[in-house]
């Protein structure tokens, strides 16, 4: 199959991003995600990276793709341990940030990739609740700030830096959840399942009465 110069440039950018460890999703990299939607492009990348003992992996929701090692040799084990240690190091931040956002927006459900978060709406929600203000102040990103807006701004900056959020509309401060955030949620689920942690209901949770 032949590709045009533009397609090749996009493809090169896509491969570079993947090798740099990015999770490609329609919200973080719209143009690259469109290319990656094509099974031919996936096949081409897989064929290319298989010599590096890598392959494309997908988030559980199917919205994000990233490169992972194939097999389970000592080198991969060591990389896995390092990834796990990184996750554990930031675990407190992730859980606190997610709990704050969920409690402010929808206490009984987690986030879906692509979901919009309006900065000002969130700020006004937090402004109305002393509990949420306490949660925000206890985040590591809030340490250097006293004003509520600055604290939330700092939290969003960190989440943007880590690729968990992208700014969809600068004028109205609308952000979107990325597939990387979905992946972090998946990891927390993984830990809760493996450690058999007791599930917790939010205060105002209503259970689903019927599951079809």
């Amino acid at each position: 199959m032949s590709y045009s110069a533009d397609q090749d440039a996009t493809y090169l950018k896509l491969v570079t991003r993947l090798l740099e460890g990015d999770v490609i999703c329609p919200w973080s990299h719209p143009a690259l995600a469109r290319v990656l939607e094509n099974p031919d492009a996936q096949h081409r990348i897989n064929r290319w990276v298989q010599d590096l003992e890598m392959r494309l992996s997908e988030t559980r929701s199917g919205t994000g793709m990233y490169l992972s090692y194939e097999g389970w040799n000592p080198q991969v084990k060591s990389a896995a341990k390092e990834n796990f240690s990184k996750l554990i190091k930031d675990l407190r931040f992730y859980t606190q940030a997610l709990e704050l956002l969920m409690s402010s927006l929808h206490p009984d459900v987690s986030f879906v990739p692509g979901e919009e978060i309006r900065f000002n709406n969130l700020l006004s929600q937090i402004d109305q609740s002393a509990t949420l203000q306490g949660q925000l102040a206890s985040l590591p990103s809030s340490k250097k700030h006293e004003a509520l807006r600055d604290q939330l701004d700092s939290l969003f900056s960190r989440m943007k830096k880590e690729g968990l959020l992208v700014e969809a509309n600068t004028l109205h401060s609308i952000y979107q959840i990325t597939a990387r955030m979905d992946l972090i949620q998946e990891m927390l689920e993984f830990i809760a399942e493996n450690e058999a942690l007791p599930n917790l209901e939010p205060d105002n949770a209503k259970s689903q009465s019927v599951l079809v």
Binding site: V15, A79, V109, E115, N194, E195, L197, K206
Partner: protein, 429 residues
């Protein structure tokens, strides 16, 4: 193109439509539930519509549309409204049965015109049954497939989905019951009606297929919401756990790292282009570049290796950071452990020294967490020796109840690195 009939001016429906057109502003006001001007002219326009049950009077200056007419307009204009559908096909079926008996009676008496009218009536009721089925299926299918997402207010979305599912179930049940009746008396008395029912059934099969697809979408949506709720509970569970168990190691998850591709995610690789020197054009460009740089550089560059300077200015201020009080206490605990060469309980250490200024404001949990964090940064503490070369931590845990599958943190023991796990367990008891 079919030729339109031109003698419909005297038909009562034409009169009704004309009446509706004349009162169009009033009908819009009624549809939007806003006030209307109350004068003789409006009264004259509204009265015929009220008599034909298209409009109902609410008060002196307000009228509302008949709900069936309202729904017809809603279906065209407000597709995003929550859909409430008619799930009862029984009433139309009963009406069709009565019309069928009238048809049979007129056939028996030999009145041809009455027979034609009765047959038309039966067919109209059968069409109504199909319309109820099709409208309901369409309304719900549209609602769940157009601009449908889980982005806002999941709880109301879920309740809406459950309601649609109930309605579709009732509709299908009602259809199945009706099918039995349509193949029985009085419908089996007339061959033409039977073939009419056969034709309608072909269309119904398409509608039923749409209903099945709608049910599948609803089921997927509800399952998805259920998954999101479950995930939210698990996120909270992890948050709560690390709050109550500082320093917890998540050993079980660590043992399962091969189960999820995320942990195999590659370490970022900085990609740089390497020139292909086999290509003559690239080689020429590289040579040009070297020549250009050489011409810009006044003298040849020689690499001089120098060892790093170890000199320090006489006036240079020496800065040392004092360890925090808790860190000092931890260092004291480690020193005790190395002196005694046996495990020391961090909780006991905290209890015996909780009145000391360093630990006065520090709770037991905070002290254990600080100790765990201090040990995790495996820095050099003596000569070239790291913390882990001298000291190791032992986590004493117990299940909250038998066979719980989880463990609560009881205590942290600081042990000499030379002791094995078994020796530590024997010493602690």
């Amino acid at each position: 193109m079919a030729k339109l009939p031109n003698n419909t001016d005297d038909h009562p429906l034409t009169e009704l439509i004309t009446g509706l057109y004349k009162a169009r502003h009033l009908i819009v006001a009624a549809y939007e539930r806003s006030e209307i001007a109350n004068d003789d002219k409006t009264a004259a326009l509204v009265e015929p519509l009220i008599k034909s049950h298209l409009v109902r009077r609410e008060s002196d200056n307000r009228v509302r549309l008949n709900q069936r007419l309202q729904k017809v307009f809603d279906a065209a204009l407000r597709k995003n409204r929550v859909a409430a559908i008619n799930t009862d096909l029984g009433s139309e079926l009963t009406a069709a049965e009565i019309a069928m008996q009238q048809l049979q009676e007129s056939k028996r008496t030999g009145h041809i015109e009455e027979t034609i009218n009765a047959r038309e009536e039966v067919e109209q009721h059968l069409f109504s049954i199909f319309d109820i089925l099709d409208d309901g299926a369409n309304a719900i299918f549209q609602r769940i497939t157009s601009s449908y997402g889980l982005n806002d207010n999941t709880d109301s979305r879920r309740r809406e989905n459950e309601m649609y599912n109930d309605q579709l179930k009732k509709l299908v049940e009602s259809y199945n019951q009706m099918q039995v009746s349509l193949h029985d008396e009085p419908f089996s008395w007339d061959y033409e009606i039977q073939s009419f029912i056969g034709n309608i059934n072909v269309h119904c099969i398409i509608v039923l297929d749409r209903i099945r697809r709608a049910q599948k979408i609803i089921s997927d949506n509800l399952f998805r919401i259920r998954q999101l709720e479950d995930r939210a509970r698990k996120i909270r569970a992890v948050g709560e756990w690390i709050k109550n168990n500082p320093g917890y190691e998540f050993e079980k998850s660590r043992d399962q790292l091969n189960k999820h591709p995320f942990f195999r995610a590659i370490a970022p690789i900085q990609v740089r282009a390497v020139p292909d020197l086999e290509d003559p054009e690239v080689e020429r460009q590289c040579a040009d570049m070297v020549e250009r740089f050489t011409s810009q550089t006044p003298s040849p560059i020689r690499e001089i290796k120098r060892p790093d300077s170890r000199l320090k200015g006489l006036g240079q201020e020496k800065r040392t950071a004092d360890p925090s009080p808790v860190e000092s206490a931890i260092q004291l605990l480690l020193a005790d452990c190395l002196d005694l060469a046996e495990p020391i309980s961090a909780s006991e250490f905290w209890t015996t020294r909780s009145n000391a200024p360093a630990l006065r404001d520090v709770s037991r949990g905070e002290f254990l967490y600080s100790l765990s964090s201090y040990m995790r940064s495996d820095s050099v503490i003596q000569g070239n020796l790291k913390k882990s070369d001298l000291i190791r931590l032992h986590f004493q845990t117990k299940p909250p109840y038998p066979k719980a599958g989880t463990h609560d943190l009881v205590d942290l023991y600081v042990c000499p690195a030379t002791m094995t796990k078994n020796e530590i367990k024997e010493t602690i008891g």
